[in-house]
Symmetry: C2
Subunit: 194 residues, 2 copies
């Protein structure tokens, strides 16, 4: 990557997200993005597979980090707490630094049915990745799959509070609070399990 | 609907799913489906918006049923048990009768990336519908959203066991077992909540 100017990725991404916000994701072309960023097509396609992937850039690395954190949770931690701990660690060490851009990103996704559908695919991938990390810790397949989806739901509920204008909580705090609210609600029925 | 021959819907759906299974969803046209079923295009589009909706037919009615069952759960039932009870009731009263077709349907979806992506959208709609029913019972928004996604994950894990060739369990039993496995796994850590 040495022959690419430093900050190229960030400049292209900022130009793209600003345009998506101004005129809509569907109406924005790669030509407009590269013109706004003052770069050429080749540079764009060096960094992004297509204009949709600009929105979800970095997810693979985040998933790698989350899976490693889950595998490293203390033995005996239950799968849901292990999964949420992995997501909270990623929130602190990866997502929190992008807080300023998160409001814009949330608005762009909320305005585009295509991006919302794509986000569902990304959620599904993340849930599967979490489930795989849980299985590596010894969680049975069924519980790992359900815990993966539950953790992802907790993450997205928290993110959709975190990326609101005026929010003052960290994403990790919101994730922890959401987990507690879910557990309190679901544990309120005394022993209904057969 | 009186002017449509009885069984039209079922014949069109059977023809479509058989063709999707034989030659792939992507390669099948509405013309092929109507030819196989011995009907015309107009009849097809009376019953289905497009060839994709054939696969997911009936979901709106199922969601209506599930939401009503959730609202009717005894007061004090926690949101996750209420949601799962609604899904188990639908399994008994709606899904179980389609068991023979479920193996074929599962195979068709598993073979098509487009249908898998569409199924994620349907899952998301179902999770939102369940969350809305839970909120009507007094569950707070955050817990309702997470419980909705967890219940949907439980439902799909169970369905993906139910629709395997050779499975002898009912869908409702598999749903109950999956819930128990999730709860046992996540309750195994003694009081890690802060």
């Amino acid at each position: 990557m040495a022959r690419w100017e430093p900050g190229t990725f960030e400049r292209l991404r900022a130009a793209a997200l600003t345009l998506y916000d101004e005129q809509g994701f569907e109406k924005t072309t790669v030509a407009q993005i590269t013109e706004r960023a003052g770069m050429n097509r080749r540079t764009f396609f060096h960094h992004f597979a297509d204009k949709r992937e600009v929105v979800f850039a970095g997810q693979d690395q985040s998933e790698e980090f989350i899976a490693a954190e889950i595998r490293n949770q203390p033995e005996g931690t239950d799968p849901l707490h292990a999964a949420v701990a992995g997501l909270a660690a990623a929130a602190d060490q990866i997502y929190e630094q992008f807080r300023d851009g998160a409001v814009l990103l949330g608005r762009v996704i909320a305005a585009s049915p295509e991006l919302q559908e794509r986000e569902l695919v990304k959620r599904s991938t993340l849930a599967a990745r979490i489930a795989a990390a849980l299985r590596e810790r010894g969680t049975a397949e069924t519980a790992a799959t359900v815990a993966g989806w539950t953790a992802v739901a907790i993450f997205f509920v928290a993110r959709n509070q975190w990326n609101q204008p005026g929010n003052e909580h960290t994403l990790a705090d919101l994730i922890t609070t959401t987990l507690q609210e879910f557990l309190s609600a679901t544990r309120s029925t005394p022993s209904r399990t057969p």
